[in-house]
C-alpha cells in the first residue's frame, strides 16, 4: 500500500464496481450468487498468508495465522464447491 488515499480510492471504486456488477439477477440465481460472492469474501486468505509471513518465527503469530488461513480456506474451497454443486443442477434440458 503506497498511501491511504490510494487505498481509499481502491475501496471506493471496488464498491462502485460491486454495485454495478449485481444490478439485475434472476431470483433463481440469488442463492448461488450469494454463495459464490461468499466464497470470494474468503479472499482474506491473502491477509492470513501475509500474517504468517510477517510472523518471522513468532510461534503464537504463526498459529493465529495458520488458524485464520484454515478458516478462510474453508470459506473459499467450501464456498466455490458448493456453488458449483448448485449450478451444476441448472443445466438446461
Amino acid at each position: 500500500m503506497s498511501s491511504l488515499s490510494q487505498a481509499l480510492w481502491v475501496l471506493l471504486l471496488g464498491s462502485l464496481l460491486g454495485l454495478e456488477l449485481i444490478g439485475k439477477v434472476p431470483p433463481t440465481l440469488h442463492t448461488p450468487l450469494m454463495s459464490g460472492a461468499n466464497a470470494i469474501s474468503g479472499i482474506t486468505v491473502l491477509a492470513s498468508l501475509t500474517l504468517i509471513q510477517k510472523a518471522h518465527g513468532n510461534q503464537a503469530l504463526l498459529v493465529i495465522g495458520a488458524l485464520s488461513l484454515g478458516f478462510a480456506l474453508y470459506n473459499v474451497i467450501g464456498g466455490f464447491l458448493v456453488t458449483d454443486r448448485m449450478l451444476a443442477m441448472f443445466r438446461r434440458r
Binding site: G14, L29, S48, A72, V82, L87
Partner: protein, 498 residues
C-alpha cells in the same frame, strides 16, 4: 500508509514486484467477470470457476511477492490442509436442502479469518502501527466478530438448534444492543492508545455479543435477508483486513462483495415489502416466529375444509392445468423427488404442470430453484411470480406444498395485516386450491392465512413427502399414467387447449 502523497497508478505498478502486481490486476478483472457471470443462468457455472481461478491466481501472486521462508511454508501447509480438507468434506456432504445454513457457516468462518488476522496484528505488531492501521484493526475486529457470531446464530436458527427467545422480542434488546455498541465504540477508541491490551479483548467480546444480540431477535421469513447482509459484512471484514495488511486486492475484492451483498439484501427486502430497518430492528413478525410451522402459535380458523389425499388425487386426475407452489415445508420434508415423480405422472396423463416460484419462498431466494433442480425438474417449468400470477385464473388445481405467507391473499386485501403490500402468488384466483401442511400452525411470519378459509381451498394435513407419495399411489390406482385408456372408455387426456 503514512506516505503523504499518493503514487500514481503507473508508478505503483513499476515499484515493487511488477509480476505480482500484474497478476493482482488480472485477478481483479477475473473476479469482476466472475461476479457478473454469476448473474446469468447460462454463464453462471463457468463464472464460478473463473472466480475460483482468480482466487488461485491471487494466492500465487501473493506467494511470489512475499516468498515465504520454510517455517512459514510449514504453517501455510498446516492451515491449508485443515481448511481445505474441511471445506472439501463439507461441500460434498451437505444436503441441498441445507444450503442456507451452509452459506451462513462458510460466511461466519470468513468473518473469523478477518477477526484472527486483526487480533494477530494488534497483539504483535500493534505498537508499531500508525493510526490508520489501528483504525483498520478496530474495524476488522468489530465487523469480523459480528459476522462470525451473527452467522453462527443464523445457522443455528435455520438448523432449528436455536429458537427465538421471548425476551429478545421486548424492547430490552435495544437497550442491551445499544449498550454493547457503545462498549464497542469505547473499546475501539481505547484500542488506538493500547492496541494489544484489555481494549482489544473488550472490543472482541462486545462485538461478538452484539452479533448475537442483533441476529437472535430476527425470525423466520427475514432470515434470508440477514444471511445476505452478513455476507455483505464478511466482504467489509475482508476489505478492512486489506487495510490492516496493506493489500489492494483484498480491499477491491472485499468492497465488491460488500457492495454486491448490500444490493442482494435490498432486492430481498423489496421482494418481501420490508425495509431493511424493520428487518433489523423490528424483531420477528408475530410473537412466536422463528420456530417454523409447528412451533408457530395456532391461529384461529373457523371455516377450514380438510380432505384426504384421495379427494385431492381425483381433482388432479380431472385437471388440465396444475400449478405446484413449493415452500419451506417441501425442503424440510425432502419431498422434491416425490414431487417430481408426481409431476411426471401427471404429464404422462396430459396435464400441464408448472411450478410457481415466489422470490422469497423457502429460507433463501432461489432456495426452491435449487431444491427442484436437484430433483431434475426442467428449468423451464419453474415460473417466477410476475409471470405466473396472470395464469392462475385459468389454472384448475393449485397445490401449495409447505408454503404459507407467500400465498396469503391478505397481503393484497387487508391493510392491517403485517404482510400487507408484500407481493404474493395469487393462488386464490385458481379454481381449486389444496394446501399440504403439517398442521394449522401459523407460518414463519406467525400470522393466520385467509387462503385456508376460502371456499375453493381444502387442507391436506400431513408431511409433504407422505402426502405426495399418497397422491402418487392414489393416482396409480386410478390408472393414471398407464399407456392404455384407464376404464369406462375414458381416453387418456390429450394436451389440447382448454
Amino acid at each position: 500508509m503514512t506516505h503523504p502523497f499518493a503514487l500514481s497508478l503507473p508508478q505503483a505498478l513499476l515499484r515493487g514486484d511488477g509480476l505480482s502486481q500484474l497478476i493482482d490486476l488480472v485477478a481483479v478483472l477475473l473476479l469482476a467477470l466472475g461476479i457478473k457471470g454469476l448473474s446469468k443462468v447460462r454463464s453462471a457455472r463457468a463464472a464460478n470457476g473463473l472466480a475460483a481461478l482468480a482466487m488461485g491466481l491471487a494466492v500465487v501472486g501473493l506467494l511470489l511477492q512475499i516468498r515465504p521462508d520454510p517455517q512459514a511454508w510449514l504453517w501455510i501447509a498446516i492451515g491449508t490442509a485443515l481448511g481445505g480438507l474441511a471445506g472439501l468434506v463439507t461441500a460434498q456432504r451437505v444436503p441441498m436442502t441445507a444450503m442456507p445454513e451452509t452459506v451462513a457457516l462458510f460466511n461466519g468462518c470468513g468473518g473469523m479469518a478477518s477477526l484472527l488476522v486483526a487480533i494477530g496484528v494488534a497483539l504483535f505488531d500493534g505498537q508499531a502501527s500508525d493510526t490508520v492501521a489501528l483504525v483498520s484493526i478496530a474495524i476488522s475486529v468489530f465487523v469480523g466478530a459480528i459476522t462470525f457470531t451473527g452467522s453462527i446464530v443464523a445457522m443455528a436458527k435455520l438448523q432449528g438448534w436455536l429458537d427465538t427467545p421471548g425476551w429478545t422480542q421486548s424492547q430490552v434488546r435495544h437497550v442491551v444492543n445499544i449498550a454493547l455498541a457503545i462498549t464497542c465504540l469505547v473499546g475501539s477508541v481505547l484500542l488506538l492508545a493500547d492496541p494489544s491490551g484489555l481494549p482489544l479483548w473488550l472490543l472482541v467480546v462486545s462485538a461478538s455479543l452484539l452479533g448475537v444480540g442483533v441476529t437472535l431477535p430476527i425470525g423466520g421469513a427475514d432470515m434470508p435477508v440477514v444471511i445476505s447482509l452478513l455476507n455483505s459484512y464478511s466482504g467489509v471484514a475482508a476489505a478492512a483486513a486489506g487495510f490492516v495488511v496493506g493489500s489492494q486486492l483484498l480491499i477491491v475484492a472485499g468492497a465488491m462483495v460488500g457492495a454486491a451483498g448490500l444490493i442482494l439484501t435490498q432486492v430481498m427486502c423489496t421482494a418481501m415489502n420490508r425495509s431493511l430497518v424493520s428487518v433489523l430492528f423490528g424483531g420477528a413478525l408475530g410473537a412466536t416466529g422463528g420456530g417454523g410451522e409447528s412451533a408457530g402459535g395456532a391461529a384461529d380458523y373457523s371455516r377450514i375444509t380438510s380432505c384426504s389425499p384421495e379427494e385431492c388425487a381425483m381433482a388432479l386426475e380431472g385437471a388440465e392445468r396444475v400449478v405446484f407452489v413449493p415452500g419451506y415445508g417441501l425442503a424440510v420434508a425432502q419431498a422434491q423427488h416425490a414431487l417430481r415423480e408426481l409431476a411426471k405422472l401427471l404429464e404422462a396423463h396430459g396435464v400441464e404442470v408448472t411450478y410457481a416460484i415466489h422470490p422469497v419462498a423457502g429460507r433463501m431466494p432461489g432456495h426452491m430453484n435449487v431444491l427442484l433442480a436437484e430433483a431434475d425438474v426442467p428449468y423451464e417449468q419453474l415460473v417466477e411470480m410476475e409471470a405466473i400470477n396472470p395464469e392462475f385464473p385459468r389454472t384448475d388445481v393449485v397445490i401449495v406444498l409447505g408454503a404459507n405467507d407467500v400465498v396469503n391473499p391478505q397481503a393484497k386485501t387487508d391493510p392491517t395485516s403485517p404482510l400487507y403490500g408484500m407481493p404474493v402468488l395469487e393462488v386464490d384466483q385458481a379454481r381449486q386450491v389444496f394446501v399440504v401442511k403439517r398442521s394449522l400452525g401459523a407460518g414463519y411470519a406467525g400470522i393466520a392465512n385467509a387462503l385456508f378459509e376460502l371456499p375453493q381451498t381444502a387442507m391436506v394435513f400431513g408431511d409433504a413427502k407422505a402426502v405426495l407419495n399418497g397422491l402418487l399411489s392414489e393416482l396409480r390406482e386410478m390408472g393414471v399414467g398407464k399407456a392404455a385408456p384407464a376404464k369406462g372408455g375414458a381416453a387418456p387426456r390429450q394436451p389440447v387447449a382448454a
